[in-house]
Symmetry: C2
């Protein structure tokens, strides 16, 4: 059984073996760049962990892990254009370092490359794996659209917000685990439990991300803090705060959301209101709840306890993370 | 045997049955729009013709035809952003009618939808079909990148230009035919001949497109004429003219390429130089040559002459087209 750390090393070695430097370099250069500037490699690790959980050697699941990671990075490249994000993993985003056209096309190419990796798999259920991937790829697009739609709406409920992040973030983590389980030939019951575990993990992960965007350390976080506030993103923090705040504070937030002339003032003012209602504490409570639910689902899965360890580990590490 | 016109009607009926109106409408509305504003439906027809050529009922190849058409429309949505094109098929482009973010995400979703159609096919070689599609999807991205790269270069050879349009345009038409042939279980020899026929057809099609961009009628063409000249696109016309022109005329073109202050003057001046060297006549000669080569390849294919008729017909109709 390989530990979280060993699986991480295994995936990094695979990544270093891959070369994203075909011609034209104007297309593959940006792909090589985004694939090599780091990241937690969380989703490919979930593929390997899902496979190992049910007895498939993670070494034989590396192409699926690559497919998921390339797809994830494609979504980052395109989302960063749409969200006007200048920094990713402490480095300029692709559309900032090159330009929007290059970032669009590099992303498109990465999407195709993701399928190439799945098509390479040695498994008799590759079609089912591609079907699973296709479903989630569509959901991720829908989630991103809801996210953008929410920026234009004054009111979003917690339920709507949770459904949006389920689509945008959680299902890809769930599908990464499921792809690993499919490769290992797991039973439907076990696979469903693992998928739901992944969803909970993903939801908790996104709430943590929302928190870090306000309370994180820019250097450790790898992107500018306060960006969500600046761009009026409907995060769990904002949605919760608009639900809890007094009419006066709600009005103050509404006023700030209409202004773009003083980003630093906006970040400070809205953070002060968050603090007043202990939004941080409430988000942390929601994260804890999701982690408990995730652990309960993991406990129900019929697999050797030892094989579950990396999943417990990843769950813990995501809770304590600073980036 | 179904004629070109009957296959067209069959595909249009299929298209009308499909609904691109799931939630969120902010995502699927633009997809429904681009899929429904017309177009020649050339590529899906090639799928049906490729299948029929080798004896598969076109009715049973409609999902593959849809996959190819949805993919093609995805490339149009993204290319129109990159090329800053305001009009497509006589209507505002997606990024003009909505915005760039919506157009990026609608395109991404269409890419995923294309695979969904292939995954629905009832055939024992779906994996091979998806592999063929994946290869061509990658080539189309590379072709678009070369196209953009060429805009920044002062010199491009005819050979480089032809390779660029082979990737950007011709291989998708070739692959559409090949997908049909794969569904019909054609022999490798026949499939290769058909693929090469599709490449020649696609090259001729693109040269015709280059011609229409300068000499076409805006209303029939469905997009603004002169756009290629305005945006310094390296078309066959420009590449050929830079090769043939006197040093003075080359210099005059080079001066205009650096100017964006007078688009109408630029279009007129460069068109006048094209006329001086009979570029139109030379492009027409190149198109004729490609069509002869295409016909020779089609003649070598071992299939009933009757089944080849729609392919002869499509070839003829592309030569005489105004849009």
């Amino acid at each position: 059984m390989k530990s979280y750390h060993e699986l991480y090393q295994m995936f990094i070695s695979k990544l270093e073996e891959e070369h994203f430097n075909s011609a034209p370099t104007s297309l593959y250069g940006p792909i090589d760049y985004i694939m090599s500037i780091g990241g937690k490699r969380l989703r490919p690790l979930l593929v390997l962990m899902g496979a190992q959980l049910f007895g498939r050697a993670p070494e034989e699941s590396l192409d699926a892990a690559m497919g998921i990671e390339v797809f994830h990075n494609f979504t980052l490249v395109h989302d960063d254009i749409m969200d006007h994000s200048p920094i990713r993993r402490g480095k300029p985003t692709v559309h900032t370092r090159w330009n929007t056209s290059t970032a669009i096309l590099a992303g498109d190419t990465m999407m195709v490359m993701a399928y190439d990796y799945f098509l390479r798999l040695q498994s008799n259920n590759v079609m089912e794996i591609i079907r699973t991937f296709n479903t989630v790829a569509r959901e991720v697009c829908e989630g991103q659209q809801y996210d953008m739609d929410f920026e234009l709406r004054s009111e979003v409920t917690i339920e709507e917000y949770m459904e949006m992040i389920r689509l945008k973030t959680a299902v890809l983590m769930a599908a990464a685990l499921k792809v690993g389980a499919l490769l290992a030939g797991a039973s439907t019951t076990n696979m469903d439990l693992l998928y739901r575990f992944g969803e909970k993990l993903g939801l908790a992960f996104q709430l943590q991300d929302d928190l870090l965007d306000v309370y994180g350390d820019t250097e450790k976080f790898g992107k500018q803090t306060g960006n969500d506030i600046k761009t009026n993103k409907k995060t769990y923090l904002l949605v919760k705060c608009l639900q809890d705040a007094s009419p006066e504070d709600k009005e103050a937030i509404a006023q700030w959301l209409m202004r773009n002339d003083d980003p630093d003032g906006k970040i400070e003012a809205i953070t002060t209101i968050y603090n007043k209602y202990d939004i941080q504490g409430q988000v942390e409570a929601a994260i804890n709840q999701l982690n408990h639910e995730a652990a309960a689902l993991l406990a129900q899965i019929d697999a050797p306890e030892e094989n579950k360890q990396p999943l417990h580990e990843i769950s813990r590490s995501l809770m304590g993370r600073a980036s």
